[in-house]
């Protein structure tokens, strides 16, 4: 009974988003590997694309366009990974080889600090928001978008509550030697 309780407890703990635990598990990891550094694991786009199926319907949805000009509209959106709770936008305004240009990039981010800074005659403004498709380019007509699965996020907390009640139940009758 106690063992079952412990199992449930660990299950419960593992459900918590604490990342610290992961690192400890990794401690005795693959020290035999030595060539991993050479491996080019930099395919951000693929990673991002892969993360969609697992997280769709639970998290945030953001526009994701890179270096868009004023006359262009952004047609790319993405379901962010669970850890990514921000839609970020960066507007750059300043002179380029092809004259004064305002460009706009948008993406899902796990952290976001709003900031405005001018460097080398280019003004950059980072803004952050946390609702579905909130990082729409300012010159683009806002379309009302369906946000699929805003309600589905509840399943996890239901599971946790279930585990909790099970656990307390076990402890209520468990520790009688």
């Amino acid at each position: 009974m106690k063992a079952l309780g412990a199992v449930l407890l660990t299950l419960l703990l593992c459900r918590q988003p604490g990342r610290g635990q992961l690192q400890e598990e990794d401690d005795d990891g693959d020290y035999g590997l030595d060539t991993y550094e050479e491996k080019d694991d930099d395919e951000d786009e693929e990673e991002e694309a892969n993360s969609i199926p697992g997280s769709s319907g639970r998290g945030l949805r953001c526009y994701t366009c890179q270096s868009l000009r004023r006359e262009e509209s952004c047609n790319l959106t993405q379901s962010c990974a669970l850890s990514q709770t921000f839609c970020t936008t960066l507007v750059a305004h300043g002179n380029t080889e092809s004259g004064l240009l305002t460009t706009y990039s948008t993406w899902c981010a796990d952290s976001c600090q709003p900031v405005t800074r001018t460097a080398e005659g280019t003004q950059m403004t980072v803004t952050c928001c946390q609702s579905t498709l909130c990082n729409i380019p300012p010159w683009q007509g806002s379309r009302v978008q369906d946000s699929p699965g805003n309600g589905a996020g509840g399943s996890e907390s239901v599971g946790t509550a279930l585990l909790l009640s099970l656990l307390t139940g076990l402890w209520a009758m468990g520790p009688r030697p």
Binding site: Q23, T103, W107, Q113
Partner: protein
Amino acid sequence: MSKALFLVAVGVWLQSLTASRGGVAADDRRRDFIDIESKFALRTPEDTAEDTCHLIPGVAESVGNCHFNHSSKTFVVIHGWTVTGMYESWVPKLVAALYKREPDSNVVVVDWLSRAQHHYPVSAGYTKLVGKDVARFINWMEEEFNYPLDNVHLLGYSLGAHAAGIAGSLTNKKVNRITGLDPAGPNFEYAEAPSRLSPDDAHFVDVLHTFTRGSPGRSIGIQKPVGHVDIYPNGGTFQPGCNIGEAIRVIAQKGLGDVDQLVKCSHERSIHLFIDSLLNEENPSKAYRCSSKEAFEKGLCLSCRKNRCNNVGYEINKVRAKRSSKMYLKTRSQMPYKVFHYQVKIHFSGTESETHTDQAFEISLYGTVAESENIAFTLPEVSTNKTYSFLIYTEVDIGELLMLKLKWNSDSYFSWSNWWSSPGFAIEKIRVKAGETQKKVIFCSRQKVSHLQKGKAPAVFVKCHDKSLNKKSG
């Protein structure tokens, strides 16, 4: 006659019996340790430079007299070879830094100066005896006062690192930690583990290698990894600020008195890096595990996954790998030594196939709080439709990256080939991985594609995506 003799004998026996309850037993105890030549001075935060109070193995009162704090941790500092027969100037600095960081601790300085001033090979041989002395002192503290060895941290510099290793191998229980500060190379590079510092000597052994220039066995610092974590700042061979030009500047300023300091500049840097880690608690330098110095220079090793990065110095994470791991970092030339590491990846596109060798570039990084401009780097080769990765670093914390500027320098000499048309490449995106923040940033050309021409205007790229690496997505 015989009666008298008997009485005398009984008297002597009785006397010895009564005496043994007091002084003689202590004296015997003392005699057990009489062959310990090393001295153990408990320094104080008030007087970090003088050996005013000694802990004497076998003399329990000495520990009380020196106000040894039994409930705190103890640092045992072991110096290295000395030409002058005196403590070097770093000793009080390290003691002061240890007390600043751990005010309640005990900082014990081992004095083996008399054995440390012989010809190098003789002093190197004495590390066995010094290590044995230190081990007996520690064992006595444990036996006499139940002082837990898990509170003991040995710090040894140069030959002192190997003395610490030998001490650790001879204690009743393993000590908590040994920090080897550029352990000596000559006579130890090819030595077996028991006669030098090795990972078995403590629960955790960390090593800073700062002066390993030269062939193995001849370099002042040991080249091979000898701990659980072995850190090679600036590749471990030689340290910034330790070159001849710097030496001349220092001589001009301070006179010839500090010449021995200059000779050991890189060697001693290990200590100052550790002091830095004690004093600049909130900004530890990070070191990164890498298979080679060359791979690190390419920026390929800035990962922190699975303990691949660690803090340098006091706040190191005690990662015990099955085998030694070499870690690298760049540093500034003076305290604070911390720099910020970036891997830059550029794909050079073009319609015509071109290859150029040894090309000089400059990169400028603009962040949310500051910028670092005109960081020079050379690519051994640049070819069309190839991606190149390299490491750059900044001395200032520029915050989150926002913009990047890239310039391709013309050759310093007058070049006919560039006169008519300078070579150029098209660049769409530049990828940067920041080691300290563990973020991957993509910079995009603001005109979809930028043309970078040799000797012409720089190309500017603005952040168009970023991603944290320490948080797993999904």
